[in-house]
Amino acid sequence: MSGIALAAAAAAGAVLLTAGFVLGRFTARRGGHAADPDLGTPVERATFHTLHTASLAAPPLRAGLTEETARRAAGTLRSLLGTEALCLIDRGAVLAWDGPGEDHHRAHVPAQAAETLETGRSRSVHTDCAEPACPLRWAVIAPLTGEDGVLGALVAYGSRESAVLVRAATEVARWASVQLELAELDRSRTRIVEAEIRALRAQISPHFIFNSLAAIASFVRTDPEQARELLLEFADFTRYSFRKHGEFAQLADELRSIEQYLALAGARFGDRLKVTLQIAPEVLPVTLPFLCLQPLVENAVKHGLEDRERGCRVTIAARDAGAEAVVTVEDDGIGMDPELLRAVLRGEHPAGSGIGLSNVDERLRQVYGAEYGLVIETGVGAGMKVTVRIPKYRPGVHRSSP
């Protein structure tokens, strides 16, 4: 096939595409006209418009009050108010300015807003602008509040003093304050998760430490060399589990810690516990939330050995799946009633189940999004298989110390 034919085909394709696009737009517009009466009265439509504009400003503010978020929110807030210019400041400095007059007004804003920042009350002031052509004559300063008092202020400029502007600016500032409070809520939720990680670390210790030391003690006379090995494992394991900082770890390190855990558990249970590891070397550098696999393994060991004379096999597999790593932890133990499991994952802890599974599930969802929660296949007497999918890259997920 010649290049000319190809070019012709490409051109024909482009023409067809354009034609389809134009046709689509045309019919859509006609459809829009036909549906016009259903869009409501002008007042309703104005309300919809306002709500839509407000929804556009919400996401930046949900990230807190910083220069970046203020810059992204200022434009929408100004169109929401319909003022000449709008300025957002925090307790220290001007964060963002939208509209004209930035050059000679920006410097005065902190002084003008000082009183509002102090008292938390809205007020309207004259700008005393020296330039006759400047439309910014009056400024309405409304406070932005958070849980701990005034965070900053919203300054709306108009050409004349108007009660409407004062009312509107105050309401918008109140709405923005709600968004900022939600941002604080997000932050405190993160703090709770961090606290849960700490709780999880604390939870590992008592039983496990006691059992491990007992197992090691039983080797001290019969096999001192083995006892020494186990003690070193124990030291490494606790060092890793109690490490101070870092929300994330490499899969290789997590697996090493799991191996140490299994070595200690193996010393205690002997031949009853059989373990298979199938690890694709490609996924070892994957970064994942700290200590999110160890509870799964602990769970598998506990389930596998519960009420059973014969041994159990725990299989841990990590494989490469393109942009994700898939880790599965499987045991052939007593399994679990799916309903009970659901209750555990919902955060209710009936019959003394540990918080391990639900904590891991929650943290994975928190870091990677709802579709990355644990997938658990189980039934009573049918063993249990837990699957974790970990994206190889996710913004903000890296191993550096905080």
Partner: protein
Amino acid sequence: MNQTYAVGAVTAVVLATVLIGALGLRISRTTSDFYVASRTVRPGLNAAAISGEYLSAASFLGIAGLVLVQGPAMLWYPVGYTAGYLVLLVLVAAPLRRSGAYTLSDFAEARLESPQVRRLASLFVVGIGWLYLLPQLQGAGLTLEILTGAPDWVGGLLVAVVVTGTVAAGGMRSITFVQAFQYWLKLTALLVPVLFLLAAWYGDGAPRARFDDPAVLRGHTVVKVADTVRIGLDAPLTVTVTGSVDSVTYEKRTVTLAPGTHHVLGGTTLAFAPGAALPERVAGGTDPPPASGRGDPPLAPLGWSQPLAGGRDGHQLYATYGLILATFLGTMGLPHVAVRFYTSPHGRAARRTTLVVLGLVGAFYLLPPLYGALGRIYAPELALTGSADAAVLVLPDRILGGLLGDLLGALLAGGAFAAFLSTASGLTMSVAGVLTQDVLPSRGVRHFRLATLLATAVPLVVGVFASKVPVADAVGLAFAVSASSFCPLLVLGIWWRRLTPPGATAGLLLGGGSALAAVMATRAGLAPEGWPHTLMAWPAVWSVPLGFLTMVMVSLATPRRVPPGTPALLARLHLPEEITGTVPGPAQEVRR
């Protein structure tokens, strides 16, 4: 050539790839065997995997073909393909690994904290991937056509089906092992036959191609001209013609052609007597074959041994610089190369891996030029037929013949298919991954399968319609786009703290976009003759500086948009992991 062996070899390679990929050499151990976790992929294995994935049809077949037709000027291709890793080693390898990014889109997002830049980068990943896949599939078609006489789309379809099947089924689990295996297979497949061929050549009295003279045919040779060509003669030539020469139709007639330029219609068969001088193809003139792209041999008066790369417009020096720039700077932006670095456990390992890759790739590239030179002596008529890429495949039969020739030919065919499969599967995985993540509306396993299908179907269909360009040239186009888009993004992203999202967007669009447009126009045969054609066929010379300049200027103009996390990120990119405290060193040391 005996088809049975060749088909057997191709089948064996396909089966081995699928089996190793699906079953995998998974490490399966019990707890008694400690430290599975510390068994990260060693730099040597990872380097072999990168090389295996990187050495494509362009390297295995294309370079020999280009050397055969156009002479040593084409050695810039292997030099550039290798030197690209030097640039990668010095500027990019370790920081890219430390960024934690898996794909190039990930890097864009990590560095610039902007989903928009990420999406744009993804589009370029897909574009480059498709441009690179296209010649792989075309090369496979050519190989199968020569081996079995099947239509030229069958080979491409075969590779596409095998790759789509294994990738979509999640079969490339142990991809590092598969690709490392492919590297050693490819090296063996080129090395063993060339030893036999060189021995035969030595036994033949070591004839030398006098590079500047017209090639001389050594035996009675029948040439079927695929595309319409113009040939130039210095002396009268007697040939037996079936078909049309200079608009006169012959049927098995012996004709003596006068010195000058002659017009041979596509499909014509020319039979030369032993010792006849092979006519050179002449480019340009009034009716150049419009579809043949820029891959035509240079003007006849230019000797074979001229040290400058081709370009039928005669702007060889410019074209050579274009080639050098594209290959030197383009390697770092190839989507399937970038993802392999993620396998390295840390930045230092990534750097060491790149060093080994330089050695492995360099060793491999010593071989194809030998095939090119031998082809010039023993199979010069391939330059006329337009399928010079086949030189590597036909040489054993031509020089040795018999069972040995068949077996070595089968080995080469197997190696060639390893080249298609490894590069195509690596590219398909990268393109499909990016398509699922950033282009298709929602995520999920089914979408990954759909994306895999899309990733191979597009180049397959385009390959049927697009003009035939020599494989190595076509790959060069993908390098040019990569050098103008990702090279500025990576180099500035790693080494310049003032890069901003608008700057990166503008640079990608202007540098990469213009290179992509120029390359597309060239491949569609839309480029006008003369300087415009040269400029568009070798865009790297102007598009790489354009990309860099745009990124710098726009970034400087938007200083307030520098991402807030830049200093922290740059520190993480450039400091060794031990300092940033990300590798828990002491815990391991206690035991040793």
